[in-house]
Subunit: 363 residues, 3 copies
Amino acid sequence: MGYTVEQIAKALGTTALGNGALEVTGVAEPVDAGRHDLALAMKPEYADTLGEGSARAAVVWDGADWQALGLEAAIVAPRPRYVMSGLTTMFDPGQGWDSGIHPSAVVDASAELGEGVTVGPLAVVCAGARIGAGSVIGPQAFVGADAVLGEKAFLREGVRIGARVVIGDRFIAQPGAVVGGDGFSYVTPEKSNVEQARQTLGSQDGTNAQAWTRINSLGAVRIGDDVELGSNCTIDRGTIRDTRIGNGTKIDNLVMIGHNVEIGNDSLLCGCVGIAGSTRIGNNVVLGGQTGVSDNIFIGDNVITGGGTIVLSNIPEGRVMLGYPAMKMETTMEVFKGFRRLKRLFADVAELKKTVSKPGQSD
Amino acid sequence: MGYTVEQIAKALGTTALGNGALEVTGVAEPVDAGRHDLALAMKPEYADTLGEGSARAAVVWDGADWQALGLEAAIVAPRPRYVMSGLTTMFDPGQGWDSGIHPSAVVDASAELGEGVTVGPLAVVCAGARIGAGSVIGPQAFVGADAVLGEKAFLREGVRIGARVVIGDRFIAQPGAVVGGDGFSYVTPEKSNVEQARQTLGSQDGTNAQAWTRINSLGAVRIGDDVELGSNCTIDRGTIRDTRIGNGTKIDNLVMIGHNVEIGNDSLLCGCVGIAGSTRIGNNVVLGGQTGVSDNIFIGDNVITGGGTIVLSNIPEGRVMLGYPAMKMETTMEVFKGFRRLKRLFADVAELKKTVSKPGQSD
Amino acid sequence: MGYTVEQIAKALGTTALGNGALEVTGVAEPVDAGRHDLALAMKPEYADTLGEGSARAAVVWDGADWQALGLEAAIVAPRPRYVMSGLTTMFDPGQGWDSGIHPSAVVDASAELGEGVTVGPLAVVCAGARIGAGSVIGPQAFVGADAVLGEKAFLREGVRIGARVVIGDRFIAQPGAVVGGDGFSYVTPEKSNVEQARQTLGSQDGTNAQAWTRINSLGAVRIGDDVELGSNCTIDRGTIRDTRIGNGTKIDNLVMIGHNVEIGNDSLLCGCVGIAGSTRIGNNVVLGGQTGVSDNIFIGDNVITGGGTIVLSNIPEGRVMLGYPAMKMETTMEVFKGFRRLKRLFADVAELKKTVSKPGQSD
């Protein structure tokens, strides 16, 4: 898996400087780089650490004097993070799995596998499942009855795709991701304490003890193209209609998406985010880690939330939000500043009250 | 899987209006409904969308003029959510799995399987396990040594039930749920920094670096009847006694229940809730999504928490709580209102201080 | 699995009182203890409950009059929690699994298994994996290509260790733990809304809708000795270098550790903690349940956080933190107190404003 510096530059849409014929077999941080690694020195602060490693070629920042850095060859990265995408794709060693249908896999005779599909050891593909060409169903993964996967799906070990789930092309799922568990939906014969508390914003008679009856999930999950799911995340099926996730949306580890939720295109949901049932989320939304979103609300396009934000009501498009409850980031930053001065504020007011109530004694 | 409108009405304990002999094969939202679907139009706001779909029969709201809506047959839903329970049970297509013991399953000779038990492909049932009649152990699921499952358990793909766990009848577990991992319990030879910080409410000498020694979990997990667990949730075993969950309690995806925890009957724990070790939770409690509960505390019957609530101390029965820290919902709502006016408050107090310190110059 | 009281006392490094030859076969809480159990009565408040059970031997608190408690034999626990460690290790019944390589396991011919390694039913060990002597790869567990496990690893059912992950000795992983999922790392061709919002602390033009391109994860995960992972937790691989976890660190259920994160030695991460990418955490750190930590920050040695803490910036060593945002615990406790008095404060200031603006009418 070696490339010349020139091949790499070309793949990244730029040009090689110096000895373009130099071959590298891996990428490394400057200090760790060996003689056959391409060092990633995309910011000036890496200048010194390059000398600590042994790299002869590097990706350098725009404007770097690569020769003065002791390099034989260099590639200039105008947008370093973007260059990372191309580079890491070229050098990805992958999972090292064999291709083909492993004899220990249990594949139902009625399942339809496209050309070049791999099914790993001890994986299960149920009746009526359809898997697109070039897909990899990893070791111990599961594809339920009548589920549909598009082309070039890549399911890591232990991924679970439930019955009737429909997924587009180039789907990636990290280990243990679950799509198509049943929704969490129960009802009591009479109005429950929770319904009371919601209607009264906080009061309930508290005596209304009833058992919960299950609402089954008849819907499935429908996922677009180019979606990725993180390790051990869970996406529930819808009650009547499908839970829906648009194209290009990326979902991180341990994210929970409830029943009937709809998420648009090109949104990012970071680690440990939870979205309660029937909530709608727009396009190009970014939810920071541990963001929680209530059920039955709406988050507009291009909304961004910071880490730990708790969203209890609708957010119009374009807002940047933070805090519990979610407020505009600048408002929450003011509140956070206020927290640190709150003790002083109470003292000031106590002092003012004393002063004002005894006006003759002030000053 | 078709039913006449009359059969459905009877099953729901009500009567059919119009052509009760009309057969439907599915349920759908009004706009998506085809000619053979029963549309779910349980609120007046669905009146218009009925016309967009092709439904000839619908479940309608109490008081609806079903004939004017163009329907041939109708069922009136006095409590719509409750009707959903019966309807979705009737029309649930299930997982499409075969019954019986799959030849690829690994079932120990000493395990006792009741009548009609299904064990799916690549599932494992360990020595001494006992599984009640009519239970389904799904594909790639695991039942540990000497574990006991009651009748009609339904374990989805990849569920893990640890050794010696005891579970009642009609248990449902979604994909990847784990019952019976070991508790998170460690101790240092001398008093640890954490113990110091807890005793002093925040100070520690910070120099007490020690390695952690493990406290093993000898207890198991004991779960009542009619309990459901969500995808990838985890319930730890107890240290000496069992972790306990009562009858009828429902636990959502990615919920974490620590060692020695006791939860009563008919409680609901929504997505991403975390309960730390040895905490006790009463009956009919509802914990909103991402609620966190400290260790060794007590939450009384009928308590409700809103999303993201962080519970750091006991909650008496019947309270409706919200916020970090958990306070009565009305108190937290006031605090949230205060946040938005906090900057103004600081400005007001600054102004007051100026005014009061120069009394002659006020207004 | 029986021991005499004397054997137990010796193993705990103390001495037996009374009839040291008395044999016990289990440990139990005083009220549950049978005649052959060793009761755990390590605090004076257990004195009464001992009489409710049938224990003849107990571990008692320092200073207890064990004979007056009706016991035949006793062991004094100077530090009760620490005694629990030794006792629970002696009496742990384990998982009840067979040893050896189960015929249903899929073990690549090129994998190297040390002496006495067990591979459970339906487990997968990939090409080039190396597993140290005495290790147990549990049922349905997975060890990826070229992964390395030290001696005496114990992988519970369904654990997933990804390709090229390297782990030290005495590793324990609870069911469903995932090590080596890919990092959550994407980039847009031009500057994204999130990058804008971060640079401006909250504003973005919101029109910059772009699709996300993936940055692949070339690094692995490197874990030291004596590390334990909880059920369904996830640890992502690094982008270029490895994600790293030091010796003796313990990680609880549903914890999420992002790409490139570095964690030191002997730290504890409690349930549902989330650590975003590239953050560094020191030694002997304790993060309480549901603590969230932003990306690219630093947490010093001996830091402790309380439950639900959201860490948005660096924390120097030795600090005890709580709240959202994380502040010193005493500051947050003051803020929490302030919350309860906030409504009163607003009223006081309103009153003051009235009084001050009409000075002649005060009192």
